[in-house]
């Protein structure tokens, strides 16, 4: 071991090493690894041989420094307990990897405030940032935009900052669910919200209560479940312990809806949907299992992720592009957790969905 400075015996081969071995210039090596570059067929072959021999791979970090594009996309995610997000993360990662991007994970720590997270995001020169966390203040989004980093909100929007977003049909879903429950003959409706100031929960609620109000129904009872399993369980307990217990609950997402289902059946001995109808939102994970068989407004994963990938790439290509709010259509998937109205169900693929004869358009 006569190496004077290497901390590891394994010194990575660099483009210069390859150039020396191939008998070409270092620039030629760079060209050999640049898709559209002008290089002679034979030169490329020589470089490739040498590279193989040395186990050379272009250093992505160095490349990022010169190209000023990191090909890294930051993703701030939390609440991975909610099954929707891991699925999103996996699909996003695959989609972006196919386009040569990688996801750098930022996990907001409730203990620390958002600022250090912002600093880290900025430090890493991410090409874009995807916010898939309801928790994170929209302030972060605004600051990144201000710093010139394209930001995409996934499954949420922001009314303060002017930031692009991909969401499901939160408003329409809420309306449809109201109509569905009323058509099912329910008399005492309730809503369990997620986090109060999250756009997703607000929109779903607005659709729900909006439709009810427009059609002369009493406003629903209301509790807050904070998108959390335990908090949603507690909300359910409060609701179900009332003397005027609701006969139908719309829960702002499936994750909380499964909690409500558990409490209703196992703690209150209620039969679903005989004693209580339950409708969720997302149509993911355990909600589909027979034990829950949840009627739920679907947020179609792949269309949403595809839209997100396309938008992110577009924003990177053209940072000046105008903000867009893409809403991906879903449908109300009917299963066994809520009483089924006499009319309006049509089978679609392997699922049953509900389509009111004449949907009231907002």
């Amino acid at each position: 071991m006569s190496e004077p400075r290497g901390r590891s015996t394994q010194r990575h081969a660099t483009a210069t090493d390859v150039a020396r071995l191939a008998g070409v210039s270092q620039s030629a090596v760079s060209r050999a690894f640049t898709p559209g570059a002008s290089i002679a067929r034979e030169t490329r072959a020589r470089v490739e041989d040498a590279a193989r021999a040395l186990g050379y791979r272009p250093n992505a970090i160095a490349r990022s420094l010169t190209t000023r594009r990191s090909r890294i996309i930051g993703v701030a995610a939390a609440y991975l307990q909610n099954h929707f997000y891991p699925d999103v993360l996996e699909a996003l990662s695959k989609g972006l990897q196919a386009r040569g991007y990688h996801l750098l994970l930022f996990t907001p720590d409730a203990a620390r405030d958002a600022d250090p997270l912002l600093q880290e995001v900025l430090a890493w020169q991410v090409d874009a940032l995807i916010l898939a966390s309801t928790t994170l203040s929209s302030a972060l989004a605004g600051q990144c935009r201000a710093a010139g980093i394209p930001v995409l909100l996934f499954n949420r929007t922001s009314r303060h900052a002017d930031v692009s977003s991909v969401t499901g049909e939160n408003l329409r879903g809420g309306r449809l669910i109201a109509e569905f429950l009323v058509a099912g003959g329910h008399k005492r409706l309730a809503f369990i919200a997620g986090i109060e100031n999250s756009s997703t929960s607000r929109d779903r609620e607005a659709g729900f209560t909006g439709w009810l109000a427009e059609h002369g129904h009493a406003p629903p009872l209301r509790e807050v479940g904070l998108y959390d399993f335990e908090a949603a369980s507690a909300a359910a307990r409060r609701l179900l312990a009332r003397s005027d217990r609701p006969d139908a609950i719309f829960v702002a997402n499936d994750h909380m809806a499964t909690a409500v289902s558990e409490v209703a059946r196992h703690e209150f001995g209620l039969r679903i949907p005989r004693d209580l109808s339950l409708v969720g939102f997302d149509d993911t994970g355990p909600a589909r299992w027979p034990s829950f068989s949840l009627t739920s407004f679907a947020q179609p994963l792949h269309p949403m992720v595809d839209a997100a990938v396309a938008m992110v790439c577009e924003m990177i290509e053209d940072p000046a592009a105008p903000t867009r709010h893409q809403v991906v259509p879903g449908e109300l998937v009917v299963r066994g957790s809520a009483r089924i109205p006499p009319e309006g169900c049509v089978s679609r693929g392997d699922a049953l969905v509900w389509r009111p004869v004449q949907e009231t358009v907002v």
Copy 2:
């Protein structure tokens, strides 16, 4: 906009800009942002003011290039459907972020083979790689080690490559479950494996069948569930349709165990644990909900993640450190999905765990 070349109006401030404004050298700026550097209190203050004024943050990419440490840790994850992994990912990310590392996500695509993934991992100069995917061949681990990158296997081991790992007590868990089921008076046992050649499934099975053999019991029936919800459901159907239907099934993880529970109750009308006992492994997610109330050998998330974080950091500090296989102790959490033996249950915290009077040591 007279800027001739900027693609974005927002050009990031560099250390040179800050130096100019603060009236110091660029080296001084670097020192101001380097924790242990020797710099006068007053100089640092001047630099900090200037930095604040310009919105300056050291460029992590450039830093990585000179320090030859990216402070990025690659994590290859898949099967995020299994609730255990999202939890792991979130905890790992938090733990590493606290130590100044970030996770770069690599999602193996079943369609492509592992080689491009390796190339990408290498290109990114990750400081270490955590493999938290049962799918990925251990070949990847070996190649990374060969390239001088510290590799840590999480929730799996490899017998081919000489790679460090953090796992739960797969072997002991399997043995304990065998003992538990026999003590519960079950006569016809079955095992549902994950992926055949995954160390995790193999070890759990080896513990299970090993104990049975040592104590003169017939070998269990066996099916393969591939760690997949649908495949596990199918395995359960095959098992439960037999004329000599098992009276207890040990399923290699909770994710599959919930599938088995669904099939047993909803398709076969079996009552659990009266007609069938079920034991899983992991003690995560839906398994804890009343609907499943799964008896399961716990893999304690935080101890495992803490161990992983510590080991990764250690490996980065000292790449020559010997391989270590850390086994994090767990215990058999007793709930309602399996008949409870007359003796051996002790309450521990808010859970009931099973401790045979005199555990047979391997």
